[in-house]
């Protein structure tokens, strides 16, 4: 191990270059706007100030309400997706009913449809249903996903069917077999799916861009654009402070659940 330590040097230099935008973000969030474009770049803010964060959190255009809305949307989407996907995935894998495999093929076929293609009809429907420009336009489609159902089916199909047979012999009904035997086994997969669903929901910008127009209903990514004026001039300090705040929840999930997080991301290829 120690013999090859020098391998790390170019990698660490590259890593610092990759981190530079984040360092710039934090540095700019902590300094007055006049210093944002200083030449040469001033990495350590001088004077060092928290004003940008104070303004972004408590000022007239506070991002806190948007933060709350993003949490609300994410919680409902994650809960809804976990419940519906786990039940459906389980039934596709471990229960038998007429037309099951045909239905599953239909699921497969719709899963390759990019979300962007569905934005026009969703825009129209949500207007007709009175859901346009409400958070439900973001929440509802996220609660019923084909992808989550896939992930759960793939997991349940790897679990032995004998458990269910034995329990049924003992007279357990289907709901009991599912909740008492298979569901406890599924916790790791469910947490992976939960992480994915949270990150999609938290970072989603395209859907609210199309389906939300009232600034009072902006989710966090949209609200980061609050600090750009009519001429397109960005207020560097405020924008960066808000950006830092927007990253924190994902970062916490990432740091705390790093292994599971990476497994979830790499096993599905989903952003």
């Amino acid at each position: 191990m120690s013999k090859k330590w020098w391998w790390g040097i170019p990698l660490w230099i590259l890593a610092l270059a990759f981190l530079a935008p984040f360092a710039w973000m934090i540095s700019t969030a902590l300094k007055p706007d006049v210093d944002a474009y200083k030449i040469p770049m001033q990495w350590i803010p001088n004077p060092f100030q928290w004003d940008n964060f104070t303004t972004v959190l408590t000022g007239a255009t506070s991002v806190l309400p948007a933060f709350g809305r993003s949490i609300f949307v994410a919680v409902l989407r994650v809960a809804g997706e976990l419940i519906t996907a786990t039940m459906a995935g389980y039934a596709f894998a471990r229960m038998s009913f007429k037309g099951r495999d045909k239905l599953f093929l239909l699921y497969l076929a719709t899963a390759i449809i990019p979300a962007q293609l569905l934005l026009v009809p969703r825009f129209i429907y949500f207007q007709k249903l009175g859901l346009y420009d409400t958070l439900w336009a973001l929440i509802l489609p996220g609660m019923f996903t084909v992808l989550g159902t896939f992930l759960m089916r793939q997991f349940f199909i790897s679990q032995p069917a004998e458990f269910a047979e034995a329990a049924r012999m003992d007279g357990a009904n289907e709901w009991r077999v599912f909740t008492r035997i298979y569901l406890p086994l599924a916790t790791p997969v469910m947490s992976a799916l939960g992480i994915l669903a949270f990150v999609w929901s938290w970072n989603d910008y395209e859907t609210p861009l199309v389906l939300i127009s009232n600034p009072d209903r902006y989710t966090l990514p949209l609200s980061l654009t609050n600090f750009v004026d009519e001429q397109g001039q960005i207020a560097p300090g405020l924008t960066m402070a808000a950006s830092v705040i927007s990253i924190v929840p994902v970062l916490i999930v990432f740091v705390v659940l790093q292994r599971r997080f990476i497994a979830a991301m790499t096993h599905t290829g989903i952003k």
Binding site: W12, P40, S96, L117, R122
Partner: protein, 309 residues
């Protein structure tokens, strides 16, 4: 969403769930909540987008103003210079950014596969751009690439170059490509890393005994074993690069001029700025079919390679 399904589809189809005693409608009850939602929010919109593609309809004319116009939209697309310009830009964007991201990701994955101090931290650092929302990233890079005083040009000044980035119609697309690579490399390296850990160890030992060079080992053992991963990444990144419009809507709005109006942004513009729903649906459909054909071709190429080896 699309790509995972593509990746798992072939595996899923072959292994059927083993037959279990039929339980009639109970299984259907388990699926119902998800199924109803999928019908309402995915299936019906999907059918609608196909129908809409054969209509002339805009927001102003209202629901009553919807008229079927046969294949007019598709004829119009074929003659639309804006469409072909967008397709051309998208091809440039995809052809430059995707292979670079994959190659750099591969190099990084191999480097990170060796034991070295702080490996877990390095992995996390390279992955970080991938999990951050596009607005925070876009705003940061927009300022980093400020032509006059941005950090990027401060560094490039040392080499005597001073690109105009998002202010220049020549440099705006390259700027987006730089961002795409920065954002995607860590993800690719992680995928490669998990594939490398499954690489056939005995083959390397055999090759060592035969005195094979590092390059020979890479070419004969590593690269073939990574081929399915590479195909997966190519498909994922191609779909991602051709469908996303968020960053462009945020930073350039397709400009300066139409220098960053990629096909996904062109569709967004047609649908949500000009509210030409029929035409936008047709553009979306054509693009989707195009990407699908590309994906299938990539797949067949992989199948061909696998059979030859």
């Amino acid at each position: 969403m699309a790509t995972a399904a593509v990746a798992t589809a072939s595996a899923v189809r072959t292994e059927k769930a083993p037959g279990i005693k039929p339980r009639g409608w109970i299984g259907f009850l388990f699926i119902a909540p998800n199924l109803l939602g999928v019908i309402a929010f995915t299936l019906i919109p999907l059918i609608s987008v196909v129908v809409l593609a054969f209509t002339d309809w805009n927001l102003v004319s209202g629901l009553g103003g919807i008229t079927f116009n046969g294949i007019d939209n598709f004829v119009a697309i074929a003659r639309d210079p804006g469409f072909w310009h967008a397709i051309g830009l998208t091809l440039v964007y995809v052809v430059v950014s995707v292979p670079l991201t994959v190659v750099l990701g591969l190099a990084l994955g191999i480097a990170l596969n060796r034991p070295l101090p702080g490996r877990a931290v390095l992995r996390a650092i390279f992955f970080l751009p991938y999990i951050v929302n596009v607005v925070a990233i876009g705003m940061t890079w927009l300022m980093l690439m400020n032509p006059k005083a941005g950090l990027v040009n401060q560094v490039l000044d040392a080499f005597g170059i001073r690109p105009g980035w998002f202010a220049s119609s020549h440099w705006a697309l390259p700027a987006l490509i730089v961002m795409a690579i920065w954002g995607g490399v860590g993800y690719c390296s992680l995928i490669y890393l998990s594939a490398l850990q499954d690489a056939p160890r005995q083959l390397y030992e055999a090759a060592d005994i035969d005195g094979a060079s590092a390059w020979a080992k890479f070419r004969v053992i590593t690269w073939p074993s990574l081929l399915p991963t590479t195909i997966f990444l190519l498909v994922t990144l191609i779909i991602g690069a051709s469908q996303g419009f968020g960053l462009i809507a945020l930073i350039t709005a397709g400009g300066p001029g139409d220098s960053t109006t990629t096909i996904s942004y062109y569709m967004y513009q047609t649908g949500f700025q000009f509210y030409r729903f029929g035409y936008a649906s047709a553009i979306g459909l054509v693009t989707f079919v195009g990407v699908l054909v590309l994906t299938l071709l990539t797949w067949r190429a992989q199948r061909g390679r696998a059979l030859n080896e």
